[in-house]
């Protein structure tokens, strides 16, 4: 069963428009949720995690336990936001780390 679902493989938005990348998860217990990003020709890197409640590069993500969602949002997309975004879940043991299939975001100038 897919633990982390990212329904959009591809997402295109215009520069300055709001963007939302969806992530839903399935896990009993209290998981840790992350968003990782991979820019072109760069390594996969952490964008943000729910426990830190930070805004990184203008992105925020709120954990909704009722809807089991962790959507990533940014009010005004920038061209440099174009990248592949992965939602990830960490469970209570080391072998419980699941990534979604990723969403490729393109910001159109």
């Amino acid at each position: 069963a897919q633990r982390v679902t990212q329904p959009e493989k591809l997402l295109s938005v215009f520069k300055g428009a709001p963007v939302e990348l969806k992530c839903n998860y399935s896990y009993s217990g209290s998981p840790e949720l992350f968003w990782y990003v991979q820019y072109s020709r760069q390594r996969l890197q952490l964008l943000l995690r729910h426990i830190s409640r930070e805004s990184i590069k203008g992105f925020t993500a709120d954990l909704n336990k009722g809807e089991t969602s962790f959507h990533l949002k940014k009010p005004f997309a920038q061209e440099e936001d174009s990248a592949m975004y992965y939602c990830a879940l960490s469970g209570s043991t080391g072998n419980q780390f699941y990534f979604g299939t990723g969403t490729s975001l393109t910001v159109i100038p």
């Binding site: 840790e32 890197q45 072998n95 780390f97 299939t101």
Partner: protein, 112 residues
């Protein structure tokens, strides 16, 4: 930024051959992970290690073997490569199972 490195970066091999992918980190992180990245599947955990000499299976361990005799190294071996193991392999390290993982650049493996 030496942090975490993988070698080789690209590898072409034939079905049935043994292949070892290397991963080295300089942070002395306790945890290390191996993932494979495939279209339609995202990243899937193959094996992880909580410390030297402690390893455990992830989601897709079949056909792979790992070892961790030193904290800084975590090699992944395909004992008899199959075409279905053609993939991009990522190594990662972390201070714990719950914290941020730091990823290597990846190894693109093609099995002919």
């Amino acid at each position: 930024d030496a942090g975490i490195t993988q070698s080789p970066r690209y590898k072409i091999t034939e079905t049935g051959r043994q292949v070892t992918l290397m991963c080295h980190q300089t942070w002395s992180h306790s945890y290390m992970f191996w993932y494979r990245q495939d279209l339609g599947h995202g990243l899937r955990l193959i094996y992880y290690s909580a410390a030297a000499d402690i390893t455990d299976k992830g989601e897709v361990p079949d056909g792979y073997v790992v070892s961790r005799s030193k904290t800084e190294n975590f090699p992944l071996t395909l004992e008899s490569a199959t075409r279905s193991q053609t993939s991009v392999y990522f190594c990662a390290s972390s201070t714990s199972s719950y914290n941020e993982q730091f990823f290597g650049p990846g190894t693109r493996l093609t099995v002919l």
